[in-house]
Symmetry: C2
Subunit: 571 residues, 2 copies
């Protein structure tokens, strides 16, 4: 069943989506919902086999939890309200509430509550490979952000934080082996813990220019973190004393720091940008939101995850233009900490807090203050790490400077601690007979997402370049005239039998197609090795070998070709 397309559909925005549709790996059934066709399933099964093998090796036990989950469990964990509309909810015929599982913390904690009695049963790691559903508001990018997708999710249960840390390391190591065996260029990075809570978390990213995530890493030390999570150092050791007087400068039409700096003939590193956030206070709704002015150096960008993690800003939103005008009397682009209406609160990024003689908006359209100094013109600010790290920042481990690359998140591991076991009452009896909450971890790998990520990392103008370990077939035999020449058919059949016998996963293309059609199809589909069998070659006892990434073919004897393909697989 080979059915390739010359053109990708218009809704396929990224290369992996285009190539998966064009090569016939998936077919769209609805927005964000795909059928996996036989070639796609072959890749998925190979990924699953590697994941399953390494999870088993790590001592995890395979289970299978239901996709349809009682909403009551989510009510107990308090996530029914928190999860938002990505959690698909419905009623069964008896009007009982259910959800379609986007993840299984609730179900597995319920299972642990029933199954785990004693410390002697610990540690325990359960995993499953299963279809999940998240009702994405805007599903896109094919399998990369689908609504229905296949995940390997694992959950661990330990006696305490120390046990959890050991189990976490064991799974971390298994993940390293998994992504290595998949043949992908990847990086494990420290991650923000996000809404799932708990302490300690890593993401595994497939490195690809098209990745959604920015990763900061230190080539010297091996440090790596999601830019969301990488601590940004203060870029000045200490604050220099003021040298300039406070002067209001006309900056007509110059709103962005990158425009203001050259206009005032100063480096952008001397400017400070102002961002206004609103934080609704639950206890005093009638007072309206708290207004916060965040200050960042002009060339830095706000890290929204860090802002969300700052206790003062919990649950923040960006202020509306109306709120901004009401509090600052000026439009965005001319805002600053001097002369804002009380009680605006100020939070400065660590770097900004050490700047002197800097430039800020004057809260007056067309004007900025220059020569602004903490202590003299403004009180000492509250400070926090609010910015994204940038290329060249000191690595947080102090062992070099950071580079930035882009990645696609394909795995995520968390130390949940007792967040779920406390709330859902999942306890075990310790060796003194005392009930203790289970220390939990959770560990995901996006199986279907990996297909897309592998392609984003491995493609060229002609199609996909699958890593051999997960290619739908390792090798394709293209006989020239299979139905016409007995010699060709015989040689092709024999090569197929020999390769199969030696453990290779081979496709013999016995369609009645022209060489050009065959080659284009298999290059698009991305098979690593191709052998062309022709009468002309057989007369000289050769077949034409071409690796998917090779510029041109090589003549080999059939024995050499077999040895090369089998050798590549064992290397």
């Amino acid at each position: 069943m080979i059915h390739t397309l010359k053109e990708a559909p218009a809704d396929a925005e990224i290369i992996s989506h285009q190539l998966m549709i064009r090569s016939g790996m998936i077919q769209r059934i609805a927005a964000g919902i795909y059928a996996f066709m036989p070639l796609g399933v072959r890749v998925m099964r190979k990924i699953e086999a590697i994941v399953r093998g390494e999870m088993n090796r790590a001592g995890a036990l395979e289970a299978l939890m239901p996709m349809v989950q009682p909403a009551g469990l989510w009510r107990i964990s308090q996530r029914l309200a928190r999860y938002g509309p990505e959690l698909l909810r419905f009623k069964d015929r008896h009007a009982r509430d259910f959800v379609l599982g986007p993840t299984h913390e609730e179900v597995v904690t319920e299972i642990a509550r029933a199954e785990i009695r004693s410390y002697r049963q610990l540690p325990l790691i359960l995993y499953q490979i299963q279809s999940k559903f998240r009702d994405e508001i805007r599903p896109r990018f094919g399998v990369m952000r689908a609504r229905e997708f296949v995940m390997k999710d694992a959950y661990s249960f330990d006696r305490d934080a120390a046990g959890l840390a050991r189990t976490y390391q064991r799974i971390f190591d298994a993940y390293q082996r998994i992504f290595t065996r998949l043949g992908l260029n990847f990086r494990a990075v420290a991650a923000d813990n996000g809404a799932i809570g708990g302490s300690g978390s890593h993401e595994f990213h497939v490195i690809a220019e098209t990745g959604e995530a920015a990763i900061a890493y230190c080539p010297a030390s091996g440090y790596a973190a999601n830019v969301e999570a990488a601590p940004a150092p203060a870029l000045l050791d200490m604050r220099a004393p003021p040298r300039q007087a406070l002067v209001k400068a006309a900056t007509p039409g110059k709103t962005a720091c990158r425009e203001v700096a050259p206009y005032l003939s100063i480096p952008v590193e001397r400017t400070v940008k102002s961002l206004v956030l609103a934080v609704e206070k639950k206890e005093k709704v009638e007072d309206g939101p708290e207004i916060w002015l965040l200050l960042l150096r002009g060339d830095h960008s706000l890290n929204e995850v860090k802002a969300g993690n700052a206790p003062q800003l919990s649950g923040y939103r960006f202020a509306s233009e109306r709120e901004i005008r009401e509090w600052f009397g000026a439009p965005p682009g001319y805002l600053g900490p001097l002369g804002a209406r009380e009680p605006v609160r100020i939070l400065a990024d660590c770097t900004v807090a050490r700047m002197s003689d800097f430039v800020v908006g004057a809260n007056e359209e067309g004007f900025h203050w220059t020569g602004v100094n903490w202590g003299r013109d403004l009180p000492e600010p509250e400070t926090a790490d609010l910015r994204d790290v940038v290329e060249g920042d000191l690595s947080p481990d102090g062992k070099g400077r950071l580079s930035i690359c882009r990645g696609i998140e394909v795995g995520h591991i968390f130390q949940l601690g007792t967040r779920y076991s406390d709330i859902m009452g999942a306890h075990y009896l310790d060796d003194a007979g005392v009930a203790q909450p289970l220390a939990m971890g959770c560990y995901g790998i996006g199986i279907t997402r990996l297909l897309g990520a592998a392609i984003e990392q491995n493609f060229d103008a002609r199609g996909i370049l699958w890593p051999a370990a997960i290619a739908p077939f390792e090798a394709v035999l293209c006989p020239m005239g299979y139905h016409r020449s007995e010699a060709v058919r015989h040689a092709a059949d024999r090569l197929y039998a020999t390769l199969t016998e030696r453990g290779a996963d081979v496709m013999l293309d016995d369609r009645n197609e022209r060489a050009g059609v065959m080659f284009a199809d298999w290059e698009l589909i991305g098979i690593p090795h191709r052998l062309v069998i022709s009468e002309r070659g057989l007369k000289e006892n050769t077949v034409e070998y071409q690796g998917r990434d090779d510029a041109c073919p090589t003549s080999l004897t059939p024995e050499q070709a077999v040895a090369h393909i089998v050798g590549a697989r064992n290397s």
Copy 2:
């Protein structure tokens, strides 16, 4: 993770449900929704591997279709309205209609519509192994009638009916191999086509006394059919002439034929029972339903499927007691064809139509007519095959007499024909370039249901007796004092390594449990082979072997034990 229970929960009505819960194979998450625990998943994976292997061998290609399906496809196939509340429907966050897939005819036909262009692509068989959902009104019997369950479903596409018949036979053969390899006593039986439509259908039943289905089979010829579908012969070759006069007999308090016959001193084979059905006529709703009186011999029972298939009775229901009194002027138990209100229509089972001098209710409480005869007392009736076959009936193939056994349906194959391709526009171009509808078949195996069915067929008072091919482990090693005796630990470890090396799937029980606890656990779980390793035995170079079905253990040398276990697996 071994966690067995002494007692089954109260809602476990059947033995497989009790044993699966007690042995820790499944855990209930909600009504009809189970999590499969590691031991259960091991069995499931072994079943899946056999099913996958034989489907591949039959030339089927594995796909994976989504569980969440657009309701629009079901609207086109006209099943959205027909399927009833077992089809779980819901809206996504954009209020678009979806269903949770109970089966995939619509999705696969949509795929075929897009992928199949030419006769050269045919035949094509796609299959998947996937979770399905049917919102059973009363889920019960554990995995036997669960709401979420795993199925292997396959769909075939052919050029025409002849091609479909060949593909159907190929899958039929694959199913025979599958159930044979699973180690189950099964029977392929002719089935009623039911609501899914099309022509030609077989069910595969695991034979078990507790089965829901009755199967009629002919030991002499091999004929087998679901009792629902087995044609029942007329039991009399021809009608004897009337000998008795029509006489009204008092039968006070005798309503059932089995009571009337002895009261009147006649065999029950001379009595005729009357059943009243109502058939709503769509075109003339204001006239009320048509009332039908069905006549069956007193010792026969109505086959509701056959009644439903009779064109006159399409969409029938049983009449209410009010309707019965209104039309017959008598309560149930005294009804008959003589003197019913017009226009009651009469339909006689084929056997009844050949009876003479028979007894029917007199439509008067406490009275029956005796000596009733067709032609003389009643007009010749419309006839149909309306009864279940019984033990001793002639086999429909004329080659012997029928026996009845009970079975659990675990597979079902259908020739759908063009029912879906016509309505959904799934065509291919034949070799003359003319568009033709695809001839389709569908083929299901209930993977999770098979776990239950295998247990219903294979259990004893101590627990499950898994067939070796699908046991969670083939053999268990029970060392007596693994943590105490170095000799025992060493011997157990070596046996484990040897057996594993020779391809056996072995469990070494290194828990610190008493022999009795170990034995009871593994007998409940149903492992086929058990080896007990003790210091006493090792002194004589023996281990104790006991097959799960053996009455007592045998002393073997370790080498003999290995040879026995490995030999059993290859036999």
